[in-house]
Structure formats: structure tokens, C-alpha cells
Amino acid sequence: MTEKFVPDAPLLTEEEALYVSANFRRSAWQAFLFIMPFLRPHLLRLILVCIADIAIIILNFIPPWYGTYLIDRAFPQRDWKMASTIIVLLLATTLLTQLLIAIRKFVYNYVEVRIPLDLRARMYRHIQRFKLETIDATPIGEVLFRLTVDTDRVAHTIYRILPTFTMLVQFALILGFSTYTDPVISLFVLLFIIPWTILFYWVTSISRVLDRRRLYLAEVRDSGIQQTASSFGLVKAFANERLERHKNVVRAGGAQRVAVHGYLFLVPFELVTQRILPYARQTTVFLYLSWKVVNGQMTLGTMVPLTTYLNRLNYPIERMVNFFNWVRQTMVSVERMMKILQTQPSIVDKPGAVRLTSVSGNVEVRDVTFQRQGQNPALSSVSLTLQPGKRVAIIGPSGAGKSTLVNLILRSNVPNQGAVLIDGVDVRDLEIESFLRRIGVVNQETFLFGGTLGDNLRFVKPEATDEELDTVLRSVGLGTFLDAQPNGLNQDLQSGTSLSIGQKQRIGIARSLLSDPRLLILDEPTSALDAASESEVMAVINRLSGDRAVLMVTHRLDTILDFDEIIVLELGRVAGRGTHSELMQTCPLYVELRQSYRHDTELSA
């Protein structure tokens, strides 16, 4: 596994940022429409949380008021009754508040847990419906990024909408209260908060630009490490350790320098926004209130809750500014996720589709033509038949339509004309997975899942016994491999990182043979192998084809000399068909392909 690990959600790229600013309203609306369905199932919870939040805010206002009564009345007048009432009330209020907070936390965090999982499940469902050709064209790292980082980021913003909103309510209430008590206080407060907000927002914007550069350089540094880690042998063989070390110092140093500059740039603003301005505001208001108390215009009791409230002002604004930034990032994530959700899904089963319980291996491709919109036909009038015991090869230069033909049989696409019949049933009428489960498919490269050798085989036949797995592995010549595994079938294969391509390919063949299919489709099974492994794998395939129907796409012409039928495709048309010796007489393209294939042997001989 070498994909780039993303430590923090990376910030927007320059283009993305520009795009979002330019289409802000549309993007925001789109993001809103996208998010709504995920909130709907939690509507009741959200309403509950909203009510609880408002109640908590109001309850939070009460305890400082008890101070007023104590200081102004109970203490000077030695009013025991009032003092004891206040204590009882205080106990009750705090108890009630805490109860609400606990309930609210639990309910809301449930939403917090659910939303990213729901988003991910939705994306997952769609990605599973991708067509085979879309899958091949999609970078894996990017899709995974959408599924993980983007969903998390969107969820993160969604569940911060509500707290931010309640913060806003709290802010308004405090400001309203202070204005009601004395408008001058609000004036003082605004005098400090407005420049604070502007400064904070401004510095945040600048620091975002700095962050982008910093993260970019950190990425360069890390990708340098990745490159070295992927080529240790090369570095050592070239005695390039010093060069690599030097490159690393340069890269790490560059990233570090930018980090230091950015940090030092932020220091004075941090000092001002985090400490100086809030302290200055606090002192000014305190001084003003004291002046009023000294002059008898206000009691000390009134002053106490006021200062408490005003201290709660800072955080809401910080939150709102940050929230705005989150929203911007979220909109990009939504865009990206939408792009994936808009990809056209593959063909869906018809209602009442035929569920196959067995496949005998009779396949008829009847005169199919396939053409993507606005392109030349990828296949025109191609026919072929397969029956048990018959081996058919499809060859041709790249772009001839070999894979397209296989994709039609697997119903990744449906032909514009003609039909593909499986045991006499049109593939369009099949429940496609019931068909695919009963045939064997070997791809150009075998993908191994994380997990044990057994898991990887049982993937196609979950109910297979250990004996079955053992037999099938030995039949593809992996007997010694299996014996060499310390844990046998339970050996963790680590996604195949330590296996050779030949071993992987043989595991792929074993996997396809596990359910003893009558039909085998091999899509360039040996193209990734070297000569020695190729002949070993081909020997396995030839030995095991027996009474199965075999269809093999290949460009290794030496491997198919004794096939029953070879179909030569060129630009979507059949340029020739027959056995090897027939084609050598009748098909000039075949002769040409063979010559270029043998060319090098003659050269070196």
C-alpha cells in the first residue's frame, strides 16, 4: 500500500478556492440540497436538541443572578431566608442544567456518529454500481479520499451548524441584556469586538494562504520520503544515500522554513486577538462599571453577573468565523462527492430477471454491435459461440475491441444490436450476479484482499471447506506454496505484497476455479508475467480447461497455438477466425501479428 496518507484534511487548492468563491451561491444551495436528506431521519432529535440548547442557554443565565441577590440583599441585610432560598435554587438550577446537557450530548452525538456513516454508505452504494470501464479509469486514492476525508469533513460541518446557531443566540442575548442594563457597555463591547472580528477574519484568510504553501511543501517532503522508501534497493545500488539525504534535508528544510515564517507571522496577531484585545475590553468594561458603582449608579450585585456574561462573548465570534471557513471547505467536498454520484451507474437487473442456478457453458454472442455515443463502433457484427470443452481465443492489436467484447458478455455494457445469450437466455434478462457467481473470471492482474489466503479464496464461495481450498490450490500448482506458509490457509497475505505476480495470478485462477465453473473467461491472464511464469500459468490453464468452455483474451500469441478457435479482431471487426494453422493461411493480420511477435527471437538468434 503506497497511497499517500493524508494527515490532516488538506485545504482547498487554489483552483477549488477560486471556483467556490465564484459560484458561492450555487455551491451553497447545492450543498444544502445535498445535505438535507441526511438530516431528515434525525429531524426529531434535532428539534429536541434545539429546544434543549435554548433551555440550557437560558438556564446558564440564571446562576450569576443569584450573586446579585446575595450581594445586594442577603449579605448586607443578613437575610437568612433569602440566602437559603438562593442556595436551594442554585442546587436545583445546576442539577437541571446538567441533566439537560447530558441528555442533549447523548442525543446529538448520536447524530454525530450517524451522519458520516450514512454519507459513506450512500457513496459506497453508488460506487458499487460503477461500470467496469469507469472503475478502471478512476484513481483509487481519489475515490477513497471522497469516501473518508470528504464524508468526514461534510459531517463535521453538518453537526456544527446547530452549536454555531445556538452560539449566535447566546451572543445576541448577552448583548441584548447589556444594552438593556446600560447601552454604554454594549458600545464599549462593540468597540473592541468589531476590530477583533475584522482582525481575526483577516488573519484567518492570510493564514489560509500560508497554510496552503506550508502543506504543499510538507507534501513534497513526504512524497520524497515515499519515493526513497519505494526504491531503497536502487538508492543503495547507486550509492546514492548521500544524494537522497541531501534531497531530504532540502525538502524538510524548505517545509520547516515556511512553517517558521508562518508561525512567526502569526505570533503578534495571536497575542493581540487571544489576549490583548479581550483583556483590554475586560479592563475597560470593569473600570466603567466600577466607576458607576463608586458613583452609586449601579450596585455591586448588578455588576457581577454582567462581567460574567461579557466574558462569555469571545468564543461565539471565533466560532462563527471558523464556521464560515468550514462551510467553504465543505462545499468543495460536496462538489467532489456530487461528481462521483453523478457518474452513470451500470445496467440494473430487470424486474423478474432470471436467476441462474447453474451455467452449462453455452454462450452465444450473436452478431453484436456496440457503439458509444458519438464514437466509432467499438464492435460491429461480431459473433462467437462457446460450449463446454471448447477453447476460444480473442486476439488483436490494442483498441481492437477485445475487452469490450468481454465486457458485453459480463454485461458491463449491453450491445446496441445483436444479443448475448447464456444457455439460451439473453443476458439482459438475467439477474447478472447469479450468472457471474457461477462462472470463473481471471483478470490481467489478480487483486488480493486484505486477510488470509483462505479469505481470499472463500470470497467467491463463502461456504467452501478447507479441503476444497486445499485441492484447488494444489491443482493450480500452489501446493508447495501452501505448504511453505507457516499458518497454511490462515496465513495473512498482507494484500499480496510479498507474493510474486505469478503466484498472485495462480491464486486468481484458483479463486475462479473454486466453484468449479463450466465457463472460464480469462482476460489477458499472462500479460503481466515474465516468460517462465507465463508458461507455468498457461500449463495450469490448459490442464484445467478440460470440459469447460474457455474464452481467453491475450496478446501473447505463443500461448494459444492449440486453441480450438482464434478470433482476430481489428477495429471492432472480425478480421479472421479459425485454428492457428488455418489463420496462417487465411488471415494476413494474424501472420503479421505473429511475425512482429517472433521478430525479436529472430533478431537475437
Binding site: T2, F5, P7, D8, F75, A83, I86, I87, T94, F106, N109, V113, R114, L117, A121, F130, L132, D136, T166, D211, L215, D222, I225, Q226, Q227, T228, A229, S230, S231, G233, A237, A239, R242, R245, N248, A252, E270, I276, T283, L287, Y315, E318, N322, I432, E433, S434, R437, V441, G450, Q494, D530, A532, S535, L561, S596, H599, D600, T601, L603, S604
Partner: protein, 644 residues
């Protein structure tokens, strides 16, 4: 991926050992580190004294009935002035401390980074190959990030923070712990000034609270580990689902895979909710209750004291403010990540728990740094200048795994300028011979002589700089085509690069690129296997090697590219010793000497013709690779016919 989830420190001794190792990197910056702690010691009393002054503001000015308005106002001005002074001074100290700590931690982590990378390249190849590249990447990058980010960094860039790096586990957490304990001590002292009962009460309260917190957080942390393990397994299912989509779909197993995903997802949800239940229960039920009892007791006690006339209103006010600064208030806001959430009393346990978590990556880093590096050159090594190119293997034996030798006593003599092929079935020891010739591995027995010098006595760099290696598949570094070629000789001039491009027949390919030699390429770029191998050969040739080593250099290529690369090799072999390992015999048919290896032993040495008679392995391979006799004869017969 390293097993992040399940690791934890069981033994305190190991914890202290890792801390000690990290300290070695912090040590050079210790003056700044101690200065930062000094500023912590200054900041804490200032902020608490500022709060404490409120008592005098209330008692001596606001409630002083005896004095005139002007006198009272003067007192207010004086006290608030003093308070402001304390606050601003503490702000200044705070920022200085932040900068010192950040700088110190960042520098120490940076030094660790460089040391790590340096050490990594010094490790023997067999050690390096024990871990897949992905894990190397993880250990060399993610492990160096600090996880302490959320505990009070700069607010402005709190999106991802200015990471102080892994050294933060000491530089950041130790002052924080000192600050916390010191605040509690000052708090207790100031409260004692108001009423000794309060000071003692605070210290007494610390005991049950911290015991409860410790047990609660330990449980939560266990759930968190489980959760991380769950997240990793969910990520693995996702990775499999996306990367293996073609396999899943073509086997008709989408439903099964979705079931796996949903299962892991539901498991995650269950764990998450469990964690949530634990957090809410411990934070908002148990710990809250202990806190609530304390907070209410203080409130009631002080109110009664004032009512009895044993304390002033100023005392009451200052107590409330001080306690609120030391212990989490019950009147906490709604926001889950409000910065005011934790106060010194709550932090003690949190910091220690955090330290244990943060030391896990540090432990992994140290694990690598403690691995024994490859043996370097011996003292006064022989510097090889003007290599001739003769190589002699004398009874060389090598085993990667004990008791399973890859080479068992191989002796070959190679003259300068010879073209030597190595063939044999997989596992015969072909690549091991090359590894020994490059001193990537040291032989267990025998020796390798280069121009009559024992390879172990040679200054390795001086030798390798005259050797060119072309592996089976060329790794492309991110950079321009020229950069990639210059990997072989970093100081090569443009003319040299162009010459080697011409030599390897890459001109067409280069001229087709939008920016010629300056076109950016990398592992992700779409370059055919043939062109990649040409870059690999150019990289080897630019150092004008006396010895050229081809390790299956053409094995992965299609026949046409293979043929044209063979031509390039034929052209450049003049005046160089060439060692060529190949699976396909046709690659080595023209060699001066072919070495047939089997099970780590030499079966035969000779030319193609002589080997066909001498070596059964060679003959078998030859027959196997010229296809099944019957059909290939039929095929070539017809071919011959059509060619005529």
C-alpha cells in the same frame, strides 16, 4: 500500517526509557526549554493574583462606605491598573513561552526527522525490506506529527495547527503538567489566604476527583483503542472495495462485499455509541457529580461565612472567581469543543493519559533508530579509481534466512569487458549474485574480488560510482526526465544528458514530450515500459560505468521494445563488463559466457551452444521457452513458408 490501535504502554519503565530517548533530541535546546518553564512559573501567579485583586477592588473601593467617592475611585484606578498590568505581563510571558516551546519542539522534531532518514538509509537492505513502503512512509511521516495539537495551540490556524512535532510529548506536555500542578498550588495558597478551609478543601477534593478521573479515562481510552482498530478495519474494507472493484464485480460478489462494509460500519457505529455512552456517563454524570459537590460546598460554605460575618463580600467574590479558574464550572457552555472546558484540576489526569498515547509514535521512531546500521567501510579502505572491471567470485555463500542458503559456494571469474549472462529457474540465486557483487549483502562465506581487491576492503562509494545497475522495472522519481537520468550522476552536464539520451535511443520519446527533457514525470505518469527501461539504462550509463548490471532489465517488456532495448545494450557493451540476469534465454544467447545456476550452485558455464549439450537445466529451459515442440514446429514451418 503499524498497529496503532492495539499498542499501549504497559510498563512504566518502557515509558521512561522512551521519554529519555526523546529527551536526547530536546537536550540541545534545553536552555529554551527551561526558559519556557520559567515563563510558565511567572505567568501562573500573575493571572491568579489578578483575580485575587478583585477582593480588594470590592472591599476597599466598591463597598468602602467610609471613604469619599474620589478616594474610592482612586483606589479602583490603582487596583484595576495593577490588575491590568498583571494581565498584560502574563500575556507577554504567555506568548514568549508559546514561541519558545514551539520552536524548541519543532527543532527537536526536525532533528529527529533528519536523524531518522539518515539512519534509515544506513540500515541494511534486508532490514529495510522487512517493511512495505507504505509502512516506511507512515513511520517516516505520520509518526512525526504531534498529536498534542488540540491542547491549546494557536487559535487562528486551528484548522491544522503549526505542528510542533513528536518532541511535543516532552516540550509541550511537561511544561503543561508543571503549569497545571503549579496553578493548583498557587490556587490553594491564595484560597488559604481567604480562608484556610478553602485551601485544604481544594487539596482534599483533588484526591477523589483524580482517582475517579483516572479510572474513567482509562476505560475510555480502551474504548478509543478499540474504536481505532475498528476504524482501521473499516478503512481496509473500503480500500478492498474500491481497489478490488473489478474483481468483486466480475465475480458477482458486490452484495457480499457490501455486507462486509455494512458489518464493519455497524460495528463502528456500535463502538462509537458505546464510547459516547462512556464519555457522557463519566464526564456528565460521575465526574460532574464529584465536581458539583465541591463547587456547591464552596458556594454554600462561603455564603454561610459571609452571613455569619466571618468573611467579606470581596472574599466571596474572589473565591468564586478563583475556584472557577481552577475547577471546571458546572455552568459550562453548549459547545463540545469550547476552549474553556478543562481547568487545571481536570487537566492533570488528561495530560498524563495523553503522554502515554503520544509516546507510542515516539516509541516506534526509537525502535527504528535503535536498529543496527549496515557495516560501513573498514578503516582506510581501498579507493578504486579507474576500475578495470574484472570480478571474481571465490566460493561465495549467502543465506538471507538461516539454514536456507541462496548461494552455496559460487566461484566465477569475469574478465574486463566480458558479457556474462546468468540464467536458471526462479530461486536459483541469480539476483543474489548481483546483490553480492554490489555489496548490498555481505557473503557469509568466500569473497568477491574487484580488480583483485576484496570488495569488503574497498571504499564502497568509489566502487559503486563506476557501476551502473538497471533493475527489472525502473522507478521514476517525481521530477523532470533529465532529473531522473541525473540520478546516476547528479552533476552531469546538459551535454552529457543529451549524449546519453541519444545513446539509448530516447530522442524520439523526448522530442514527443511537451517540454522535452524538462517534462515532469513520475511513477503516476503514463510512460510505456520500454521508455521507462530506457530511462533506467540512461541513468546507469550516464555514470559511464565500467561494470553494467542488468537485472531482468527487459523481462517485463513486450517483444518489440525488448528487441530494441537489446540493440541498445549490444551497442553500449563495448569496453564494459556486463552482468545480465535473465529469465528468457534469448536475452543471453549472444553472451560471451552464460552461467547456469540451480539451487544456489553453478551447474555449468559456457556459451549457448556448449550449454545445450552440457547443461540439462539449460536445455530444459531452452526447450520450454521455445514452446511445446509440436505446435512450435508446426507454427514455424508455416511461418517459414509464408516468409518465402
Amino acid at each position: 500500517m503499524p498497529d496503532v490501535a492495539s499498542k499501549d504502554f504497559r510498563s512504566t519503565r518502557e515509558l521512561i526509557r522512551v521519554l529519555g530517548r526523546v529527551w536526547q533530541y530536546v537536550r540541545p535546546y534545553r536552555s529554551k526549554f527551561f526558559l519556557a518553564i520559567l515563563f510558565v512559573l511567572l505567568t501562573v501567579p500573575l493571572t491568579q493574583l489578578a483575580i485575587f485583586l478583585t477582593r480588594d477592588v470590592a472591599n476597599k473601593a466598591l463597598l468602602a462606605v467610609g471613604s469619599t467617592v474620589d478616594q474610592r475611585w482612586e483606589t479602583v484606578l490603582g487596583l484595576i491598573g495593577l490588575q491590568a498590568l498583571f494581565l498584560f505581563a502574563s500575556s507577554l510571558f504567555w506568548i514568549i513561552r508559546e514561541v519558545l516551546e514551539w520552536y524548541c519542539s519543532m527543532r527537536a522534531s526536525y532533528d529527529m526527522r533528519l536523524a531518522y532518514f539518515r539512519h534509515l538509509l544506513r540500515l541494511p537492505l534486508e532490514v529495510l525490506r522487512q517493511r512495505p513502503p507504505g509502512e516506511h512512509l507512515y513511520r517516516a511521516t505520520i509518526d512525526f506529527y504531534s498529536t498534542t495539537n488540540s491542547t491549546g495551540y494557536f487559535q487562528v490556524s486551528n484548522q491544522d495547527g503549526y505542528d510542533p512535532g513528536v518532541a511535543g510529548v516532552i516540550v509541550r506536555l511537561v511544561p503543561m503538567l508543571i503549569e497545571t500542578l503549579y496553578s493548583l498550588a498557587w490556587g490553594a495558597a491564595l484560597l488559604s489566604l481567604i480562608d484556610p478551609v478553602l485551601g485544604i478543601g481544594l487539596l482534599v477534593y483533588a484526591i477523589p476527583y483524580n482517582i475517579a478521573a483516572w479510572s474513567m479515562y482509562s476505560k475510555i481510552r480502551q474504548t478509543q483503542f478499540l474504536l481505532r482498530a475498528g476504524a482501521e478495519s473499516e478503512a481496509a474494507v473500503l480500500r478492498d472495495s474500491v481497489a478490488g472493484m473489478r474483481t468483486i464485480k466480475s465475480h458477482g460478489r458486490t452484495a457480499l462485499q457490501r455486507l462486509k462494509f455494512i458489518t464493519s460500519s455497524i460495528a463502528m457505529r456500535r463502538e462509537n455509541i458505546r464510547l459516547l455512552g462512556q464519555v457522557v456517563f463519566s464526564e456528565h454524570v460521575v465526574l460532574w457529580f464529584v465536581r458539583w459537590v465541591f463547587n456547591c460546598s464552596v458556594y454554600i460554605y462561603m455564603t454561610l461565612q459571609v452571613m455569619h460575618g466571618r468573611a467579606t463580600i470581596g472574599d466571596w467574590l474572589a473565591t468564586m472567581l478563583l475556584v472557577a479558574a481552577l475547577v471546571k464550572s458546572d455552568l459550562e457552555g453548549i459547545d463540545p469543543d469550547a476552549p474553556t472546558a478543562s481547568k487545571p484540576m481536570e487537566k492533570v489526569v488528561q495530560i498524563i493519559q495523553r503522554m502515554r498515547v503520544d509516546l507510542v509514535p515516539a516509541q516506534r521512531i526509537m525502535e527504528t533508530l535503535d536498529q543496527k546500521p549496515q557495516l560501513g567501510d573498514r578503516d582506510n579502505p581501498v579507493v578504486l579509481n579507474g576500475l578495470q572491471g574484472s570480478i571474481t567470485f571465490e566460493d561465495v555463500g549467502l543465506s538471507y534466512i538461516e539454514g536456507n542458503p541462496a548461494l552455496r559456494g559460487v566461484s566465477i571469474e569475469i574478465q574486463p569487458g566480458e558479457f556474462v549472462g546468468f540464467v536458471g529457474p526462479s530461486g536459483a540465486g541469480k539476483s543474489s549474485i548481483l546483490s553480492v557483487a554490489l555489496r548490498l549483502y555481505l557473503p557469509d562465506q568466500g569473497r568477491v574480488l574487484i580488480d583483485a581487491h576484496d570488495l569488503n576492503d574497498v571504499a564502497l562509494d568509489s566502487y559503486l560510482n563506476q557501476v551502473g545497475v538497471v533493475p527489472q522495472s525502473t522507478y521514476l522519481y517525481d521530477g523532470t526526465i533529465a532529473d531522473n537520468i541525473r540520478f546516476g550522476k547528479p552533476r552531469a552536464t546538459d551535454a552529457e544528458v543529451e549524449a546519453v539520451v541519444k545513446l539509448t535511443g530516447m530522442e524520439d520519446f523526448v522530442s514527443r514530450q511537451p517540454e522535452g527533457l524538462e517534462t515532469m514525470i513520475g511513477e503516476g505518469s503514463k510512460i510505456s515500459g520500454g521508455e521507462k527501461q530506457r530511462i533506467g539504462i540512461a541513468r546507469a550509463l550516464i555514470r559511464d560505468p565500467k561494470i553494467l548490471i542488468l537485472d531482468e532489465a527487459t523481462a517485463n517488456l513486450d517483444p518489440i521494445s525488448e528487441a530494441s532495448l537489446s540493440q541498445v545494450i549490444a551497442k553500449v557493451r563495448q569496453g564494459r563488463t556486463v552482468l545480465c540476469v535473465a529469465h528468457r534465454l534469448k536475452t543471453v544467447v549472444g553472451c560471451d559466457k552464460i552461467v547456469v545456476l540451480k539451487d544456489g550452485l553453478i551447474e555449468a558455464i559456457g556459451t549457448h551452444e556448449s550449454l545445450l549439450n552440457k547443461s540439462t537445466t539449460y536445455r530444459d529451459l531452452w526447450i520450454e521457452q521455445s514452446n511445446t515442440p509440436i505446435s512450435s514446429q508446426a507454427g514455424s514451418g508455416v511461418e517459414g513458408g509464408s516468409n518465402d
